[in-house]
């Protein structure tokens, strides 16, 4: 059963536009799939290779600006930007990794955080190129959301399957070895610098692609949105942690939960508070309704605390534990 779960989910995702006919639901699903890609990108460098990164926004933003500037400055189709955005991000990841991979653990994490913030400031200040805080507005190619949906679905499938394939090869084993112990890995003949660079570049590539896709889909970006520390970088980490750090399907599950939770709060518990306010006419409820839509960060915080306490390996990593809590497990036969 568990073996077929990804396949069932895939089929459901493919036929989704036939079921979810309204644009709101389609938009939500596009967001979920984007988060699947960003989460997978974070997972390969942080979850599998153990180099915790706060830099998802840097690559996401650079990808988005690549697509935006292709249209805004070069007058080309932003789709060309989408095509090269992954490569542009790799061009950024290369010197960045070269310099900062001599740092380990939290120090590396801090440098990635700085990278995102530096790029955000550059995008804000360099007005002649990026338009600064005004942002970039381009004309969307399609009115319907369906083409975008299938594009981001394709990217999501590509990244998840790609990571699954990679983790079964020499690269995957080397990534895990580096996560577990860099010095031991080095003594086993693993060129840790090279394989960390490889991992970072894969991560940068897919994060950049989805950034560009965001640009062509939304049609508008500004530095605050695409280089956002807490809306992109931290969210990417939360998707990874909730779903399961270092698991292949973790980011998929994490993306559904995090986007769902964000939407749940944004709509005031799917309109529950608004309805309550109208029914009871109590001032307190009306005030609460106003604030609850901005309280998603609080919800994230509580969720992360619960996940770390009870499911330290995330939902996918501790799947057996979740199942065991609901279904009394049959006694396992002792294998000898």
């Amino acid at each position: 059963m568990k073996k077929y779960l990804p396949l069932i989910l895939l089929i459901l995702l493919i036929i989704f536009p036939l079921i979810g006919r309204d644009d709101y639901h389609r938009h939500l699903m596009i967001l979920v799939l984007m988060w699947v890609v960003i989460g997978t990108g974070w997972n390969i460098i942080a979850g599998c290779t153990g180099q915790v990164s706060f830099g998802a926004s840097a690559f996401f933003g650079v990808g988005a600006y690549t697509a935006g500037l292709f249209s805004f400055k070069l007058g080309l189709s932003p789709w060309w930007g989408l095509a090269v955005s992954g490569l542009v991000c790799m061009a950024l990841a290369f010197p960045f990794g070269w310099i900062s991979f001599r740092l380990r653990g939290p120090y590396f994490a801090l440098v990635t955080l700085a990278l995102g913030e530096i790029l955000r400031h550059i995008a804000t200040v360099w007005e002649s190129l990026t338009g600064g805080m005004v942002g970039i507005l381009i004309v969307q190619t399609y009115v319907s959301k369906v083409p975008y949906y299938y594009m981001v679905l394709a990217l999501a499938i590509l990244s998840v399957v790609g990571v699954k394939v990679i983790m079964g090869t020499k690269w995957g084993y080397y990534f895990l070895s580096i996560r577990e112990d860099q010095d031991a890995a080095e003594s086993l003949g693993i060129n840790t610098q090279f394989y960390k660079m490889l991992s970072l570049n894969i991560s940068a590539f897919i994060t950049g692609m989805v950034g560009a896709l965001y640009m062509v889909y939304m049609g508008f970006i500004d530095p605050k949105v695409v280089f956002s520390l807490h809306d992109i970088s931290i969210m990417a980490i939360l998707v990874g942690i909730v779903g399961g750090v270092g698991t292949i399907y973790g980011p998929v599950v994490g993306a559904f939960i995090m986007v769902g939770l964000q939407e749940f709060f944004r709509t005031g518990f799917f309109g529950l508070f608004k309805w309550l306010g109208a029914v009871t006419d109590a001032q307190a409820v009306k005030v609460a309704a106003k604030y609850v839509s901005e309280a998603h960060v609080l919800g994230f915080g509580i969720l992360v605390v619960l996940v770390i306490l009870y499911l330290p390996n995330g939902i996918v990593g501790d799947w057996g534990k979740i199942i065991g809590a609901f279904i009394p497990r049959r006694k396992k036969e002792v294998q000898r």
Partner: protein
């Protein structure tokens, strides 16, 4: 030309001379013991040979080739592999995956690496634990995993850093057997060990250092009778000399 030759190796850490002007020659196929009191610089010497540290001065030659200052991961490809005194298993991976990761240094194919890993685990007697998480092994098996992993890289020279420390008598007995088995495969071994029973039984030659300086070299018999070694390390009670 010696198999491994260290010439005048010196390593300073700040003002401290951890290893000072140590020279040694190791011949192919022998078990070469390295002894000395705590802090004598044995592990530092290991780190210099395996390129974890770059010597302040001096050179290391492996099969006639100067390998001083070469990148750590390249040492392994040349055929030198070391174990750590404080074992460093890749904790959240199974024993099998640990060994496969090591075996990938000799091949790119997963199937080939798997075969190599299985063969090495059988050779080292760790096959029954292949699906256990490396972080959950007891110390005896962790030490064994350390050797197995090193062996999976198919080394010609194996550096064993206190492989028997913390083992009970039965486990040490097994460790001795394994080390001899590895030697019989044609692997040259340099071993650091505090357990005199082990080092005196298995070594062909022993080199003693104290405070970073060489104090003696020779057969176990000669070294254990050397007055400098007795004074610095073995103590008067170690009365194994026939003279």
């Amino acid at each position: 030309m010696s198999f491994l030759e260290a010439k005048h190796l010196t390593k300073h850490f700040g003002g401290l001379t951890a290893v000072g002007n140590v020279s040694l020659k190791v011949e192919q196929g022998e078990i070469f013991g390295l002894i000395g009191p705590n802090g004598a610089g044995k592990t530092t010497l290991f780190n210099l040979i395996s390129s974890f540290h770059i010597p302040t001065s001096g050179q290391v030659f492996f099969k006639g080739r100067n390998i001083t200052g070469i990148k750590t991961h390249k040492i392994c490809k040349l055929g030198i592999c070391r174990t750590f005194q404080v074992v460093r298993p890749l904790r959240r991976m199974t024993v099998l995956d640990n060994v496969i990761a090591a075996a990938f240094s000799r091949t790119n194919s997963k199937a080939r690496a798997y075969d190599l890993a299985m063969e090495t685990m059988e050779f080292c007697g760790l096959l029954h634990r292949k699906d256990a998480l490396a972080g959950g092994l007891p110390i005896g098996e962790r030490k064994r995993l350390e050797i197995t992993r090193a062996m999976a890289t198919r080394p010609e020279l194996l550096l064993l850093d206190e492989t028997a420390a913390g083992l009970n008598p039965t486990e040490s007995e097994l460790a001795i057997k394994l080390i001899k088995k590895i030697r019989d495969r044609g692997v040259t071994i340099i071993i650091v060990e505090h357990n005199m029973k082990i080092i005196m039984t298995i070594s062909d030659r022993i080199h003693a250092i104290s405070f970073g300086q060489s104090i003696a070299e020779g057969t176990p018999q000669e070294v254990s009778c050397n007055p400098a070694v007795i004074e610095a390390y073995l103590g008067e009670e170690y009365d194994q000399c026939l003279t």
